[in-house]
Amino acid sequence: MEKNKADVIIVGGGIIGCATAYYLSKRGRSVIVLEASDNIGNGGSSRNGGGVRQSGRDPRELPLAMYGIKELWPGLSEELGVNCEYHKDGNLRLGKNDKHKAILQGLTDRAVACGLDVRMIDAEEIKKINPYLSDEVTCASWCPTDGHANPMVTTLAFYRKARQQGVRFITGEPVERLRKVRGRLKEVYTKENVYEGDYVVVAAGYESRPILATVGVDVPMHKELVECLVTEAEPHMFDQMLGTAEADFYGHQSDHGSFVFGGMSGLELDNKDTGAKNSPGNAAITAPCICRGIMKYFPALENAKIVRTWAGYLDVCQDGVPVLGFVDEVPGLVVACAFTGHGFGIAPAVGEQLARLIIDGKTTVDISGLRYGRFKAKI
């Protein structure tokens, strides 16, 4: 039993769990990470478009994004000893008409109010930044400090370093329930084992919901099955992260030369998961739809060959931002879920701040807008 004890038990071996484990262990805390699947980073952590953005974010989570890009991302590869392929070459959110322009303007205004360097630019300036875009692109929001990184490698880099620092990662170990002991969350039950910690971090994506329910905590979220695709390596074209006003697609060109794009078919809520264990399956119609979306903006990519597609679940929160931090009703519990598809870029900041929360009792970035108790009926 002793060996299953640690200062902190983390449920979920995705990038949030790995980053939190890394920052906790860096400050000397013992950590056990429990991952349900066979692979570290098996959920959204390895299935996203790699955006490290501030622009386009809700003001409640923007401080975390800005903090991460300023303080953590620039030195991350060196700190973790693995090239995370981080680029801080800006984010273009593209539009083609007045309706798009209005959407982009709204996002920009809100971000500027929070102190972010983001502005609207016209077709001419867009072409200067990215000459490969279609002439139909007439407006964009431009945030020069945004960027992208390799999500699969970044997740595994946190894992690698945390493991080196003594964190115990256990895969194939789905958590069945949590248990309060003498007024404080203490025990984590799996099918065969019981783990015990002073704190329990639940960072298991949508699967957090049934786990948290075992101690009477319910995060209002649902699952959506979305997809990404990747092309063969192409000659280097551009370094920016891209998105569109209507979210037709998002993505970037990787250091390897391949383009990684994500997108939607519009049927995400009802998509059937045709996949096998350990990996959700694609819908046959989504990749074609993403391709059409991309080619509307990037006709030059029409001959780029797609070598792979993949699907992953978003843990979509009722109000579009994560649930993060202590839960007052359950001392010892730390929640980190419902990232709604934009968790990767803020993951280092979330991990670092949760380590502070657990060790120092408080964060240095204001995350009060993301607290568990915020959900209220509309009237």
């Binding site: 692979n39 493991r163 003594g166 256990i170 060959k305 070598v307």
Partner: protein
Amino acid sequence: MSRIIDRSMDIGEFVPQPDDDMLICRCEEITKGEIRRAVHDGMWTITEIRRYLRTGMGLCQGQTCSRLVKGIVARELHISPAELEPATSRSPMRPTEMKVMGNEEA
């Protein structure tokens, strides 16, 4: 065959081998030494190795190297290759141009 695996288990030290510079993944030009090193970095599944190194993620999609990679990882972990779950299969089975993929006929 999901199994509980404690990633802090001792698999021994990384010992350099004379053929570590042998190319294994022809498309992405990944060597045996890089694969062995990745196992010691904690990448214990074929999926993790792929994500970490890009083995089998090139144009041929692992047609040639998947069996070789499996053998190397298994040997490093002192297990049988059969215990390693192969990488997930994903559409498209052959590289497909974006303009073709986007051109659906009912």
